[in-house]
């Protein structure tokens, strides 16, 4: 039944799929925001100063929209990255693009060092380089697909574009992490997701209209598979944000990189994809690199972002009063 559900052929628009994914993200984020207690400081004087009062959802959403400047900027950076990838793939081959694109692991770590003042041991740097090499080796089957440059393409333009793109990618990842962990507004992960999805939403609508709704017209040709992919795309965005919140950008990169192993195995098992000996060796290399990075025993100082995350959130006056009352009651009982 599930197979039939998935196997219905259709021609939906790519933009529509992503628009729906963003819509799902917005709905889920609003639901999560609503389920948490939203408070705002009371602007009173004397005894009322610092007291937190509940804020209703619509007011809070309006506040989120008004403070979404940084996330909209991030959405624009992602857009610029995509344009650069497009330019690059028009000028250099997919194999060359793949090789240059792997440096994203290193650029992310570099920006982490610069922007978040994180320090990585030599073992970790070596692990990241080894990981990059392992991933490159794993994608070996696509290396020989094309020559260095495509027809009528400018190899220099393509190379510069992909290098700028990987630099922007590293910056965007760390910027997102910095905003989540150290921004003075201290908005939650769902609030940031709401802002990011909101920033992407108008762009999708613009391009759906510009593209005439794709091959099947506006919102035509949807299948069970398309719906499933939309949910998966939405889940991907939310999971990336969660992994940055609970881990960091490098760990997130490690997780997405490790996915190549699972993808390769599933691809070989179900879709008759290639799984050569070189790929198996590369898979072992990737796993060992991830383990080397993760379980590096070198002691390292805590960075600004980590310190902010690990420290407990400040208590408001109500919480302090409640705790004091509980303590007093306990003392009376004793």
């Amino acid at each position: 039944m599930f197979a039939i559900f998935l196997a219905i052929p259709c021609t939906p628009s790519q933009y529509e799929l992503l628009l729906v994914a963003e819509f799902i993200k917005i709905i889920y984020s609003v639901w999560m925001i609503n389920s948490t207690v939203v408070c705002t400081p009371l602007s009173g004087e004397g005894d009322d100063e610092g007291v937190m009062i509940p804020r209703d959802l619509s007011t809070h959403l309006r506040y989120l929209v008004s403070t979404s400047k940084k996330m909209v900027g991030l959405a624009l950076i992602y857009g610029a990255m995509n344009i650069l990838s497009l330019i690059s793939l028009r000028n250099i081959s997919a194999g060359m693009f793949t090789i240059f694109a792997q440096t994203k692991i290193i650029t992310t770590a570099t920006f982490s060092t610069i922007m978040l003042k994180r320090q990585y041991s030599w073992t970790q740097w070596r692990a990241l380089v080894a990981l990059m090499m392992g991933v490159l080796l794993f994608s070996e089957p696509i290396w020989g697909e094309a020559s260095v440059s495509v027809e009528n393409g400018n190899a220099i333009v393509g190379t510069v574009a992909v290098l700028v793109e990987v630099t922007l990618s590293g910056f965007a990842s760390i910027y997102f992490e910095k905003v989540i962990k150290t921004d003075p507004l201290q908005l939650g992960i769902w609030e940031r997701n709401f802002q990011l999805a909101l920033g992407s939403f108008p762009l999708y609508i613009f391009f759906i209209i510009g593209n005439g709704g794709g091959t099947a017209g506006f919102f035509g040709g949807w299948s069970g598979m398309t719906v499933l992919l939309s949910f998966l795309a939405a889940a991907g965005g939310l999971l990336v944000a969660l992994s940055i919140k609970y881990g960091d950008s490098i760990l997130k990169t490690l997780a997405t990189t490790s996915a190549i192993i699972l993808t390769g195995i599933l691809d070989h098992q179900f879709l008759d994809g290639p799984l050569t000996v070189a790929m198996m060796i590369a898979a072992v290399q990737v796993i060992l690199s991830v383990l080397n990075y993760t379980f590096d025993a070198t002691p390292k100082p805590i960075s600004t972002a980590d310190a902010v995350v690990s420290s407990p959130p400040p208590k408001n006056q109500n919480q302090v009063d409640a705790e004091n009352q509980e303590t007093e009651q306990l003392l009376r009982r004793v």
């Binding site: 694109a101 333009v157 593209n211 299948s223 992919l229 881990g247 996915a259 290639p274």
Partner: protein, 135 residues
């Protein structure tokens, strides 16, 4: 392989020397104890760094990426669903997912946000397609 406690010198009954039954049984107990304690120490280091929430999120993210890639390949390579007629995307689809039997494509998902950003590419296709000669 029997591990020994860090910081303590190797005992005389390690190696080929012959000892009494009591001392050898005592030694084996101590060795097993130190092995267990070493495993516990390594495990606590691992779990200390990789707490359960973090590990769970990362594992789910890994699985999500894989599932997304595989389903996209299935959708485009096997079911032959079309998501866009724009040339660039077709090139990418062909390169990444379209030829399910001959190519491997999931390199696109190594980087951050690419589970979504790959499709995000298509956002900019319409204006760039019209400027094709410029590139």
């Amino acid at each position: 392989m029997i591990s020994r406690r860090i910081g303590t010198p190797p005992t005389s009954n390690n190696g080929n020397s012959i000892n009494s039954n009591n001392s050898s049984s005592k030694s084996s107990k101590e060795s097993s104890f130190t092995m267990v304690s070493s495993i516990k120490r390594i495990w606590s280091n691992m779990t200390g760094y990789m707490n359960s929430t973090r590990l769970m999120v990362l594992v789910i993210l890994c699985m999500q990426n894989s599932m997304f890639t595989i389903l996209r390949r299935y959708s485009l390579g096997v079911l032959k669903e079309e998501y866009s007629k724009v040339r660039f995307l077709l090139v990418n689809d062909n390169m990444l997912w379209g030829r399910a039997n001959s190519t491997f494509e999931s390199w696109f998902f190594f980087f951050p946000q690419y589970a979504i950003c790959l499709q995000f590419f298509s956002l900019f296709l319409a204006p760039l397609h019209s400027m094709n000669s410029c590139w």
